[in-house]
């Protein structure tokens, strides 16, 4: 059974990103929240790998701008980090699609780590006094969460036959 999608599934992509934003903002206790992976980036990476002609650097930039506003960062920090990661993703999406999921998760680990490093680096440039404590566990957890994101969104994409 295929659901018909008048907008070519754009709504579904948007909804999945909104849900990911919700997951990022979940009101968890602060000790747990530190380890909350970056769901939005995971979601963007999936869509960029699956539909690189629809979700690209520009959409990543726009989503990043919204994330900046949501997380009280300077505008452009998340936007730039996401845009860079998605650019890389799209450059190698043909290769990455052929990887087994485990190897994809390893690449996702580096994507998440790179975006974190970029965020801290731009934060320092801005004069932030925060300690450069990169949440390693959040990155590892994010890489593990690649599997549910991959299989969940793939199911969603096939169900709504988004191409």
């Amino acid at each position: 059974m295929r659901a018909n999608n008048p907008h070519g599934g754009g709504i579904i992509i948007l909804m999945s990103i909104l849900v990911a934003m919700g997951l990022n903002l979940l009101p968890l206790p602060s000790s747990v929240a530190v380890n909350n992976p970056d769901w939005v980036l995971l979601c963007l990476v999936y869509w960029a790998l699956a539909l690189p002609e629809r979700v690209g650097v520009v959409s990543a930039w726009c989503v990043g701008l919204i994330m900046d506003v949501l997380t009280a960062h300077l505008m452009g920090q998340h936007a730039m980090a996401y845009a860079l990661v998605i650019y890389l993703c799209i450059r190698i999406h043909r290769r990455m699609r052929l990887y087994p999921p485990v190897q994809q998760a390893v690449s996702v680990f580096f994507y998440l780590g790179g975006s974190q490093v970029f965020l801290f680096w731009t934060g320092r440039l801005q004069g932030s006094q925060e300690k450069p404590a990169i949440a390693w566990f959040a990155i590892v957890l994010g890489a593990i969460m690649w599997f549910p994101v991959l299989f969940g969104l793939r199911r969603l994409r096939r169900h709504f036959s988004i191409t």
């Binding site: 909104l18 919700g22 903002l25 979940l26 009101p27 929240a33 530190v34 452009g76």
Partner: protein, 288 residues
């Protein structure tokens, strides 16, 4: 860096307004849970709480009686000294949205914004003490930076003897540090730190923190740390403050910098400016 220089505030406000429903949506389950818990609170607990609140209110009312006359007296004495008069502060209760803004940064979002007159740099209090200040404003919400944020510093003075310094946030919600106190400064464990009013952001005299540790006395600088009096990691509601001397931008009041430029001429105006206090009519109202 254009955002840092304030060139993108318009775009930022638009985006913040656009995502406000999302923030509300994520925050609402917590509120529903609270409501459900309140529904099922036992009758005895409610009665006990009611009695406690009644007692508390009586207490506060009794204190309020002397407070207004003391305030009048304070204003008169300050007039004699020709020093600026601080009129009663105005408060607005704001609720925290239960969303997790970013790990490590001590910033939260409240459900009041420019529509309610909230402005950037506005002091934010809890019932117990200073919480932080407004970082950014959008039409319906505002971001508040806590005093425990590593990027935040607040000018304070020791309530006991008036020693002034700056308390910096550490990134931990139960600890502030004061690195600029000289080794011979008279600070003891247990001292209450209150806002000094320097810097023009926070009105003077609100409690900030209590000193928890003093070490290396005798060196050039003392190592002093303090614990904020407001429970920064557990607050659900905060008070936004409009204070005449600090802001002067109260819409309901006469021209902004009147209290600063005050002299004898403006004093009568200031007397009728006391808005929210009962028993304000008589200047000689001490004997009530």
């Amino acid at each position: 860096m254009a955002d840092q220089r304030g060139k993108l505030t318009g775009l930022r406000a638009v985006l913040a307004t656009a995502v406000y429903p999302l923030q509300q949506l994520i925050s609402s389950p917590v509120r529903w849970l609270d409501d459900v818990a309140a529904q099922f609170a036992s009758r005895e607990a409610l009665i006990a709480e009611n009695a406690r609140l009644r007692d508390e209110q009586k207490n506060l009312e009794a204190r309020q009686l002397t407070f207004s006359s003391l305030q009048q007296e304070n204003i008169r004495l300050r007039e004699l000294l020709q020093s600026p008069v601080r009129i009663a502060d105005r408060y607005l209760i704001a609720e925290l949205l239960a969303i997790n803004v970013a790990p490590y940064s001590h910033v939260f979002v409240v459900n009041r914004g420019a529509q309610q007159g909230v402005y950037v740099g506005q002091p934010v209090l809890d019932a117990r003490g200073v919480v932080g200040q407004v970082l950014r404003v959008s039409p319906f919400s505002a971001e508040v930076m806590l005093i425990s944020d590593p990027n935040h510093g607040i000018p304070v003075q020791v309530n006991r003897n008036g020693v002034r310094t700056i308390a910096l946030g550490t990134g931990r919600s139960d600890r502030l540090v004061m690195p600029y106190l000289s080794g011979s400064a008279d600070v003891e464990v247990g001292d209450l730190l209150v806002t000094s009013g320097l810097g023009g952001v926070f009105p003077a005299g609100y409690p900030v923190a209590t000193v928890t540790a003093v070490s290396a006395q005798g060196g050039v600088f003392a190592k002093v740390s303090a614990q904020p009096v407001a429970p920064l990691d557990r607050i659900r509601e905060v008070l936004l403050v409009w204070s005449d001397v600090t802001s002067g931008a109260l819409p309901a009041h006469s021209p902004p910098d009147l209290p600063h430029a005050e002299n004898q001429e403006t004093v009568p105006v200031q007397k009728v400016q006391l808005p929210s206090l009962p028993g304000q009519q008589g200047d000689e109202g001490e004997g009530e």
